[in-house]
């Protein structure tokens, strides 16, 4: 006979504080807002990934007979726009940043909880507008919206899409503003700047970029749209305007945007590497300053996207040198991660597998970036698949690997449950293999001269393209498996306990999942970060 009063199920912290739809849609809890973002960007990831799948399918044959060129143009634009603005940019900041940042600094919430929720609604509005642009036919300009094609000649839904991105930009700004104030004003007692985990440093630097770069994109897209709408504008050569000015303004945002996508990943990887090698991060202060210097230098290198535009050679030389400079702090970080691993007590848990994947892929992406920053070499490689491969190694090999690693690392905190380790390792390895299979051949294709954004290509490129497409299929499996087991483990995984990884960091000092107010007592910090006992 069952007991009359079955024991109440264990509380699931913030997850059980209200279970109605309204309790989620009106929440001001940073943890719930993080989950709202998680669902939203996963949805957009699937859309962007489907477009990529269709493109890879088309590229298995050289004569481009599966779709029209126009359809293909719309697919790669869709893929770029959705992945950049509706997945990568919000990925780590808005999901992991929102969830972890206040916990990691011992705060009850972000500085402006209402603004935080508003930022999600703004993001959803922007996303819906972008979806509408896709449903009514899409855009064929590429994600870069170069004038005068976008402002004058394109017959696709440029205005609607630009509006969607414009709106979503304000959610980026709101999130960045919120995090800046949170880090400045809400740190727990004793948590000085140089006791902050590097993840917090990275999110802080990213927020500065979000706040300073996004408005420039907004005004640039607005100017482009005005020109399109009124048939007159400042990029119009007929009036003496210069289309290149658009590129300058666009890349003034979009190069720093790359750091919006990669800096948070660097922060995540620092946490993972330190925790899974049970060691203090090597050169903590240098790591913090290199994050800041990457963020700062990022604003000075945009011209490397314009070496073969009519930009002056002297400007090109300066932009080339400045771009080389970025590799210094980046390399320092890579060396310091490796030095942290060196003689550590390493466990190859899933998060570390992702971190190691990040290290390998980010290094390849970074080194090929030096090729592209070299003026003369870039003339050969510009607008080829080499560029595609390079930035996918950074943004997917770096950014998405770190995002996946971070999701796995903090999943026990987010859900209170463990994920199945075997499946997780399997998918981490699958993603790594699939990724390299997809994108390494593209370096070769680009070097051999295959241009980006074409679906018809000479037959001798077919073998490499087929390998790349096969890799994309492997990659798809690698991404779909976590979607399944993470969802399963959210409800059925075994209890995680407050600190399954035995990690330092304030977020691990509260139950999993944390209560709505985060900490029963505001923690007081007395020790440096990554204070693992000596080995």
């Amino acid at each position: 006979m069952p007991p009359l009063n079955p024991p109440a199920p264990p509380s699931r912290g913030y997850l059980s504080d209200g279970t109605t739809v309204a309790s989620w849609l009106c929440t001001r809890d940073h943890k719930r807002i993080a989950l709202l973002y998680l669902f939203t960007i996963t949805f957009f990831f699937l859309i962007g990934a489907s477009a990529a799948a269709l493109m890879r399918w088309e590229l298995t044959r050289p004569n481009g007979d599966l779709m029209t060129s126009d359809t293909y143009n719309r697919l790669f634009t869709l893929h770029g726009v959705v992945m950049v603005w509706f997945f990568l940019i919000p990925s780590i900041p808005a999901v992991l940043g929102n969830f972890v940042l206040p916990l990691a600094i011992g705060a009850r919430d972000v500085a402006f909880p209402r603004l935080n929720l508003a930022s999600w609604y703004i993001f959803v509005c922007g996303g819906l507008i972008a979806l509408y642009a896709i449903v009514v036919g899409g855009v064929d300009t590429g994600w870069t919206f170069y004038t005068p094609y976008s402002s004058t000649y394109s017959n696709s839904n440029v205005m609607v899409m630009a509006t969607g991105i414009f709106v979503a930009g304000f959610s980026s700004i709101a999130t960045g503003l919120n995090f800046i104030v949170t880090v400045h004003k809400l740190r727990a007692p004793g948590l000085t700047w140089f006791r902050l985990p590097l993840f917090v440093w990275a999110i802080y630097a990213t927020s500065i970029i979000l706040v300073l770069a996004t408005p420039v994109l907004a005004i640039t897209l607005a100017l482009m749209a005005l020109e399109r709408g009124f048939g007159v504008g400042i990029f119009d050569p007929k009036l003496g305007g210069d289309p290149l000015l658009f590129q300058h303004l666009f890349w003034f945002y979009s190069h720093p945007a790359v750091y919006i996508m990669i800096l948070p990943g660097m922060g995540v990887v620092s946490e993972l590497v330190s925790c899974f090698s049970r060691k203090k991060i090597f050169g903590y202060k240098v790591m913090a300053f290199s994050i800041l210097s990457i963020a700062g230098l990022g604003f000075l290198v945009w011209g490397h996207h314009m070496f073969v535009s009519s930009q002056s050679v002297y400007a090109g030389v300066v932009f080339s040198l400045l771009s080389f400079l970025v590799s210094v702090p980046s390399a320092i970080k890579v060396f310091n991660w490796i030095a942290t691993l060196h003689r550590g007590s390493i466990t190859f848990g899933t998060p570390l597998l992702y971190a190691l994947g990040f290290l390998a892929l980010f290094t390849i992406g970074g080194l090929t970036g030096i090729f592209l920053a070299t003026l003369a070499v870039d003339v050969h490689l510009h607008d080829t698949y080499f560029v595609i491969a390079h930035f996918h190694y950074i943004m997917v090999g770096g950014g998405v690997m770190a995002y996946m690693g971070g999701i796995h690392y903090w999943w026990p905190k987010i859900s209170g449950r463990m994920f199945p380790e075997g499946w997780a390792r399997f998918s981490a390895v699958t993603i790594f293999v699939g990724f390299n299979l997809t994108f390494f051949p593209q370096f070769l294709l680009g070097y051999l001269g295959m241009p980006r954004r074409y679906h018809i290509y000479p037959a001798e490129f077919q073998t490499l393209n087929v390998i790349s497409s096969a890799g994309a299929a492997v990659l798809a499996v690698g991404y779909l498996v976590p979607l399944c087991y993470l969802t399963w483990s959210f409800f059925h995984g075994k209890d995680a306990g407050p600190n399954p990884w035995n990690a330092t960091g304030l977020e691990w000092q509260t139950p999993s999942p944390p209560p709505s107010h985060n900490f029963e007592q505001t923690p007081v910090v007395t020790r440096p970060p990554y204070d693992y006992p000596p080995l």
């Binding site: 408005p215 420039v216 907004a218 100017l223 305007g241 709505s516």
Partner: protein, 212 residues
Amino acid sequence: MTSAEPASAPSPYSDAAQRDVANHLGMWTLIATEILFFGGLFLAYCVYRGAYPAAFSAGSHRLDFWSGTVNTAVLLTSSLFMALGDAMIRVGRRRGLQVCVTLTAGLGVLFLAIKFSEYREMYAEHLVPGIRYGAAGPPQMQLFLFLYFVMTALHAVHMLVGIGLLGWLLTLNRRGRLSRDRRAPVSMVGLYWHFVDCVWVFLYPLLYLIPR
């Protein structure tokens, strides 16, 4: 904004002072964003003014010098009253604050009215690129006029937001929610108002005072 919060939404702050400094930093960060937002336009202006000085001068001559000048005076005076309002509430004079903020908002509305009449006149003279344009002159003059309309319209939108915020201050004050110890909203709105004013301080010489 201290409306009753549901129990599930605890304030992230430990006290009101911490909240006030956070709000201030938030406003400064917003202003940094705004500077970059206008920054793209200022950059475009500088590039084309450097390239086409004669056309820009010709364009500037088509603007109504006195409207711009009077508007500058109006806006600077409004900022003076905003600062006076801040001084009033510092010594707890709520009526004085009400008068000052009302004057600030009133001058803001006057500014917009003058701006609007300027737009209307330019429309009548076929000086609105893309909508109604038929001015003789170098083609690059359109670049100047286009920038003129985009920059001043964006500024006017910020004025509208500012006037809304001033209205919010008046409501707060009428309900007795502002005092010597609770005056953070006044200095926040003040910061924003002065920023919008500063933008105009740059717009006025760039647009109206090109060598005449």
